[in-house]
């Protein structure tokens, strides 16, 4: 279990921010953590499940960053999956 820094944003946001996350957390949990920094602060909440995108691919919700192989200072984008 390790805390790793990521470059992150939520779809529709204006800036890339630093997110410190656990590499054993699932992508679903990470997406929700990223949302804490944006939804309700800079973007209006919406209905829908939050997912994570990396290298233009939508990541499986139940996989961890470590299983996928996402390392420090990679870029991820959370979004609402309608």
């Amino acid at each position: 279990m390790a805390t790793i820094p990521l470059q992150a944003t939520f779809e529709g946001n204006f800036v890339i921010f630093l997110a410190l996350v656990e590499d054993q957390a699932t992508t679903q949990v990470i997406a929700e953590q990223l949302a804490q920094h944006v939804i309700g602060r800079l973007l209006t909440p919406q209905n829908g499940v939050m997912r994570l995108r990396y290298n233009n691919s939508v990541l499986p919700v139940d996989k961890t960053l470590a299983e996928i192989g996402i390392g420090p200072m990679e870029f991820v984008e959370a979004f609402y999956d309608a």
Partner: protein, 500 residues
């Protein structure tokens, strides 16, 4: 005894070039400090400044300039003028003084280097005047801001800023260390005097002066327009240097130096001048939008000079033109959102009538940026002020040191992806906000690779504790200095606008 006209003796007096007999050219003018780029030494002797002035004239003119602005200062300091200024405008002043005052001193050192290592006597003369000019600029801006201390304690940042690790000052110092400080004189003439001064400073010093006069801030307006009269003279060192390079087949060298400096200057002016013009200046006193000022001073006037020399537009020109529509709006939002990290109080500048102006000047503003301000203003109205503050840090570019606003560019439809640009070099990851920043870094990796951005410092443990308060302390801010909204959030208590 009748005195000679300057034109009758000037060429003789300034012809102080000679062939060294006891030392070598290289010993007197080391290439590390004056990169001749294979241009013969005596070819440099033809360097010719467009605006000629004798020392006697210089002193006479400068005395009159200082007498003029100090008398304005004398009158205004006895008035309540400063107290009555719009709070957003006051923020523009405090931001300006902090960001600029000691940068002028850096420029003085840079001019002094040209004064010693410029390869022509005429150039060394002009640079000597330039050194005196920049000393004047640092001193008068320090003096004017010092006089404001009783009324605005954070005017202290006019002196303090460059001695701190405030993130915005890291960005400014990185730029000025690159193109002023750690630069040989030929590059300095092209990057400082030609690109930064001729291209950009008019936007801050004349554009903002026009707004100042509209507002009635005669003190600041007189100060910065007086400063700019000096700039117009010493900025002329760029042209003859550029001419020589081009005459000797070094157009590519010149083009690259200018492309590098122009992009970097754009980044800093978007940070400092963009918000000041489009958000802090009271709406009724905005003479032009930031984009309009940039189009006049840079796109039109400066580009004409490019063409006159046979230079090409920088390779990223279309990206730069696109960014005039969105980039500084993203930076302004970031400055406001991370306002505790600033030594001034940013004016949100988003009351309904201000938003309408923004939409008129920047069609699409409501859709791209208004949506964020809608959420922020609703939180303010609901008493959820804590939701308008960040709990993390933005990622900053390893070149310009400014937060990555790529997400805004993508949301506005100008970038294909919000993703940062990245480079792995010797086991370290570097991140960039744009292709031009990455290009500049890659042209001279060893020059830039050792620097740590503020985020690198956080991640490598240099900022302790690694929290928001810890970072604020690291950046030199006492709690009484943290920035807050300039107008006490009054703009939020108007009917909420729906993003169109």
């Amino acid at each position: 005894m009748p005195r000679l006209e300057r034109t009758q003796w000037y060429d003789l007096a300034r012809d102080m070039n000679w062939r060294f007999k006891y030392v070598t050219e290289e010993e007197v003018f080391p290439n590390q400090l004056c990169d001749r780029r294979d241009i013969p030494d005596e070819a440099w002797w033809k360097w010719d400044e467009p605006y000629k002035i004798s020392y006697g004239e210089y002193v006479h003119n400068q005395v009159n300039k200082d007498a003029g602005i100090y008398s304005v200062k004398g009158a205004t300091s006895r008035s309540k003028m400063f107290e009555q200024l719009d709070p957003g405008w006051k923020s523009a002043l405090v931001a300006h003084y902090g960001a600029i005052t000691l940068a002028e001193y850096q420029a003085a050192m840079s001019e002094a280097r040209m004064g010693r290592f410029g390869r022509a006597a005429a150039w060394r003369n002009m640079a000597t005047y330039g050194t005196l000019d920049e000393l004047r600029h640092s001193q008068i801006q320090a003096y004017f801001s010092h006089a404001l201390l009783q009324k605005e304690p954070r005017a202290d940042w006019a002196h303090k800023a460059y001695h701190t690790n405030n993130w915005a000052i890291i960005a400014a110092r990185h730029l000025f260390d690159d193109i002023f400080q750690a630069n040989e004189v030929v590059s300095t003439a092209l990057q400082l005097t030609f690109t930064f001064e001729t291209g950009f400073t008019n936007v801050q010093f004349l554009g903002l002066a026009a707004d100042a006069m509209n507002i009635g801030d005669v003190e600041f307006g007189a100060l910065i327009s007086s400063i700019q009269t000096d700039e117009a003279r010493h900025a002329q060192q760029g042209e003859p240097t550029l001419r020589l390079l081009i005459e000797h087949g070094k157009k590519d060298v010149a083009q690259k130096l200018i492309d590098h400096a122009l992009w970097r200057s754009w980044r800093l002016f978007a940070l400092l001048t963009g918000p000041a013009m489009d958000y802090y200046t009271p709406l009724e006193h905005r003479s032009m939008s930031f984009k309009e000022f940039m189009e006049e001073w840079l796109v039109k006037q400066f580009l004409d000079q490019f063409r006159d020399f046979g230079l090409e537009k920088p390779w990223y020109w279309n990206q730069f033109l696109d960014e005039l529509n969105w980039y500084h709006h993203a930076i302004h939002l970031g400055l406001w959102y991370w306002r505790p990290t600033l030594w001034w109080n940013p004016d949100a500048g988003v009351a309904p009538e201000e938003r309408d102006w923004l939409e008129t000047k920047y069609p699409g503003w409501h859709k791209t940026f208004g949506k964020h301000w809608d959420v922020i203003s609703e939180n303010v109205r609901q008493g959820k002020r804590e939701m308008t503050y960040p709990e993390t840090f933005p990622i900053t570019c390893n070149l310009c040191q400014i937060p990555l606003a790529t997400a805004a560019g993508h949301a506005a439809g100008y970038l294909q992806s919000p993703a940062p640009l990245m480079l792995n070099h010797q086991g370290r990851r570097y991140v960039f906000c744009s292709q031009p920043c990455k290009w500049i870094f890659e042209q001279n990796i060893e020059r830039f690779a050792g620097h740590l951005s503020i985020i690198d410092r956080l991640l490598t443990g240099l900022i302790q504790p690694p929290t928001v308060p810890g970072a604020l302390t690291y950046m030199g801010l006492a709690p009484s200095e943290y920035g807050d909204d300039a107008t006490g959030y009054t703009w939020a208590f108007s009917p909420a606008r729906v993003a169109l």
